[in-house]
C-alpha cells in the first residue's frame, strides 16, 4: 500500500485539499489505520491551532464597528458623513488620491440610489416560529434556494448557520454560543417546553437554563443536559454542507462528534443503543462516530461498555467467559452509582427519570446471564424499543405527549414523529410505516399515555417477516 506524503496528510487535516484528491486521500484513510492515526492527531492539532489563531483575532464590538463603517461607505450616505479613515492608510499621496477618488465615485454615484438597498436583506421570522432569539452575531437560514441568508431570529426546525460567532437564547432561557459557520437547528420536545438543539457541524458552547433541561443531539447521540449543565460540543460534517443549505435534511448526521461536559450533569444516550448510556459530569467527555460512542472520565478511562459486553448484554450466542461477565457487572455497577448520584440531585425531574429508567431497562437484556438487573419505574413515563432485523422501532410517552421513531441502517437514518394522541400520531406517520406503528399499543394513563408492545401484532410481524422471537 502506498501511503500519502506526510505534507499531504497535513494539508488534508488543515482542510487545504479539495476535489478528487481529497476523496482519494479520505479513501486511503478508510483503509489504513496507520495514516488515519496520523491524520487524527493532525486534526486535533489543527483544532488547537485554529482556536489559537481565530479566537484571539475576533472581537464582536470592533467587528460591528467595522461592518457599520463598511456599510455606510457602500451605501454612500454622503461624502461628509462618510466615516473618517484611520491613520493606518497614511499611504503615498498618489495612492491616497486614488482611494479618495474611488471613495468620491462611490459617494456621488450611489447617493440616494443605493440607500434603500443597503439594509441587509434579512429573512423575517414570525414570533410563532421563533425557536431562539439572536443575542449577538448573525444567524443565517436557507432561503429554499440553497443560499444562506441573514435571519432576525433562529426559526423553529430550520437548519441555521452561524454567520459569525453567534449567541442565541432559547425560549426557556437556555443559551448557546455557536462559533462561526456552525450549523444547527432547534426544535422542542412534544411538550413544547424542552428545547432540542441539533448540532450538525462546528462548535458550540451550550448552557441549560438553571431550572430547565436541554436536549442536545449530535450524531445519533442525545446529550440530556440537566438544569445548569454546560457542555462544549464539536461536530464535523461532510464537505460541502456548510455551503449548500439545500442538501441538508432533517436526518442528516455529522461524520463525527465530541462533547465535553464543563459543568453539571449530562445524561448521554446513544441512539444506536449499541452501548450503554451513561451519566457524565464536569470534566468528562464523549466521542461519537457512526461506529459507536465512547465516553471517558476526566482521567481518560472509558465509561462505556465494550462491544464484547454488548454482545453479552443482548444475549446472542456468544460463549460467555465468567471473567468477562464479572467485568461487565463491575462496569454496570459503576454506571449505576453514577446514575444514582444524578437521580439524588435531579430526582424530581420526570424527563431525567425517564432516561434513567430507559438506561436501566436496557440492562434487562442481561437477565438470563445473571448480570445484575434493576428496573425502576417512574409511573409517569413509558417506552418501547424493538430491534427488528436492523430496523429500530421506538415509542415513548411522557407527560401528555407520545413519540414514535423508526431507524434504519444501524441508526444512520432516523425519523421521529410526535403527537398528543395516537390518532394524530397515526396521521403523521407515513402509511408505509403503519405496520411498524401497529407494534406499539397506546393506552390512556391519567392525563397522559402509556406505551407498550402490542404482543399479538408483534408475534404476527415476526412470523410474517420470518424473524426469531425475542426469547
Amino acid at each position: 500500500m502506498q501511503h500519502p506524503e506526510p505534507h499531504d496528510l497535513t494539508a488534508l487535516a488543515y482542510d487545504l485539499v479539495e476535489g478528487a484528491e481529497r476523496e482519494t486521500l479520505l479513501k486511503h484513510l478508510a483503509e489504513c489505520d496507520q495514516c488515519r492515526a496520523t491524520y487524527d492527531s493532525f486534526r486535533q492539532e489543527q483544532t488547537l491551532v485554529r482556536d489559537a489563531i481565530v479566537r484571539d483575532a475576533r472581537s464582536g464590538p470592533a467587528e460591528a464597528r467595522a461592518l457599520e463603517r463598511t456599510l455606510l461607505m457602500l451605501g454612500a450616505q454622503g461624502q461628509e458623513s462618510a466615516p473618517a479613515r484611520g491613520k493606518l492608510l497614511s499611504l503615498p499621496l498618489w495612492l491616497w488620491a486614488a482611494q479618495a477618488a474611488a471613495m468620491l465615485l462611490v459617494a456621488v454615484g450611489l447617493f440616494f440610489i443605493l440607500r434603500p438597498e443597503t439594509e441587509p436583506d434579512v429573512i423575517p421570522v414570525a414570533d410563532t416560529n421563533r425557536a431562539a432569539a439572536v443575542e449577538s452575531g448573525i444567524a443565517l437560514v436557507s432561503d429554499n434556494g440553497g443560499n444562506w441568508r441573514p435571519a432576525e431570529a433562529v426559526p423553529f426546525d430550520a437548519w441555521t448557520k452561524a454567520g459569525d460567532e453567534l449567541t442565541i437564547q432559547m425560549l426557556d432561557g437556555s443559551s448557546a454560543v455557536l462559533q462561526a459557520d456552525a450549523i444547527f437547528n432547534i426544535t422542542y420536545e412534544s411538550d413544547m417546553k424542552t428545547p432540542i438543539l441539533n448540532v450538525l457541524d462546528g462548535r458550540g458552547f451550550i448552557s441549560a437554563a438553571g431550572d430547565a433541561q436541554l436536549l442536545v443531539r449530535t450524531g445519533d447521540t442525545r446529550l440530556h443536559a440537566l438544569p445548569g449543565a454546560q457542555v462544549l460540543v464539536t461536530s464535523e460534517g461532510e464537505e460541502g454542507w456548510s455551503s449548500n443549505a439545500q442538501s441538508l435534511r432533517s436526518w442528516t448526521l455529522p461524520r463525527n462528534a465530541q462533547a465535553e461536559v464543563k459543568h453539571g450533569d449530562v445524561l448521554v444516550v446513544p441512539g444506536s443503543r449499541k452501548f450503554s448510556s451513561v451519566a457524565l459530569r464536569n470534566g468528562e467527555s464523549m466521542r461519537w462516530t457512526p461506529q459507536g460512542m465512547d465516553a471517558r472520565d476526566a482521567a481518560g478511562q472509558s465509561l462505556t461498555l465494550s462491544l464484547a459486553s454488548f454482545a453479552i448484554e443482548v444475549g446472542t450466542d456468544t460463549t460467555h467467559d465468567p471473567a468477562e461477565l464479572a467485568k461487565l457487572e463491575h462496569s454496570i455497577n459503576a454506571l449505576m452509582l453514577r446514575l444514582d448520584d444524578v437521580q439524588k440531585r435531579h430526582g424530581e425531574l420526570k424527563t431525567a427519570d425517564w432516561f434513567l429508567e430507559d438506561e436501566l431497562r436496557l440492562r434487562t437484556f442481561g437477565q438470563s446471564l445473571q448480570v445484575r438487573v434493576l428496573v425502576r419505574g417512574t409511573g409517569d413515563s413509558s417506552s418501547v424499543a424493538l430491534n427488528l432485523n436492523g430496523v429500530g422501532v421506538a415509542a415513548w410517552a411522557i407527560g401528555g405527549g407520545i413519540s414514535f421513531e423508526v431507524s434504519r441502517d444501524n441508526g444512520t437514518t432516523r425519523h421521529q414523529y410526535d403527537a398528543d394522541s395516537p390518532e394524530v400520531l397515526r396521521g403523521k406517520v407515513p402509511a408505509d410505516q403503519h405496520e411498524l406503528l401497529g407494534l406499539v399499543k397506546f393506552e390512556k394513563n391519567g392525563d397522559g399515555w402509556k406505551v407498550s408492545e402490542d404482543t399479538d401484532n408483534l408475534a404476527a410481524y415476526r412470523k410474517k417477516h420470518n424473524l426469531p422471537g425475542k426469547d
Binding site: H7, D8, T10, A11, L16, V17, E18, E45, L48, V49, D51, I53, V54, R55, D56, A57, R58, S59, G60, P61, A62, A66, L67, R69, T70, L71, M73, L74, G75, A76, P83, R85, G86, L88, L89, S90, L91, P92, Q99, A102, L105, V106, G109, L110, I113, E117, T118, E119, P120, D121, S136, I138, L140, P150, D164, E165, V177, F205, L232, S243
Partner: protein, 177 residues
Amino acid sequence: MAAEADRGSMLSKLAVLHHGPLFGYCRRRLGTEAEAEDALQETFMRAFKYFNSYDPSRDARKWLFGIAHNVCVEIARTRKKLTISDDLPDPADHSPTLVALERLAHEESLETVRRELHNLPDRTRRILELRFFGQLSSKEIADLEGMKETAVRVALHRALEGLRAKLANTEQDHAAS
C-alpha cells in the same frame, strides 16, 4: 447607475456575511482593531471598484480574501514593517462569550500553540490565516503567495513539525503530573 446600485447592494450583503472572518484575518495581519477596521473598509472599497473582476461562479468569500490579502500586504509594505499580532489583547479582554469559551479551552496546549505560532515563519502564519479565516485551499493560497501548491503544503508541514514536538512534550508533562 442601476448596475452600480446592484453592485453596492450585493457587496453590502457580502459584508454582512463575511466581515467577521475578514476582520479577523486583517487583525492577525496588522495587529490592532483600528487597523483591521480600516483594512476591512478598504477591502470593500476595492471590491466595489474592481467588481468587474469578480467571477460569479467563484466563491465570493475567496475573492474578498484575495483582496484583503493584497490590502494587508500593501499596508504592511507602506509601514515598512509587518506587525504580527504580538500585541493582541489578552483573550480575557474580549467579549463575554469569548471569555466563556476561552476559559474552557485546553489552556495549556493552547498556550503552547500560541507560543509556537509566534516562532513560525511569517509565510507559514499567512498560510494558516488564509486557511482559517478565508477557507482557501492550498492551490488558492499558492496563487496568492506566488508559490507552487506543493511548496505551500511542504512549508506548512515542516513548520508544524516543531509545534508537534512541543505539543507532545506538553502532553507528556501533563500525563506525568
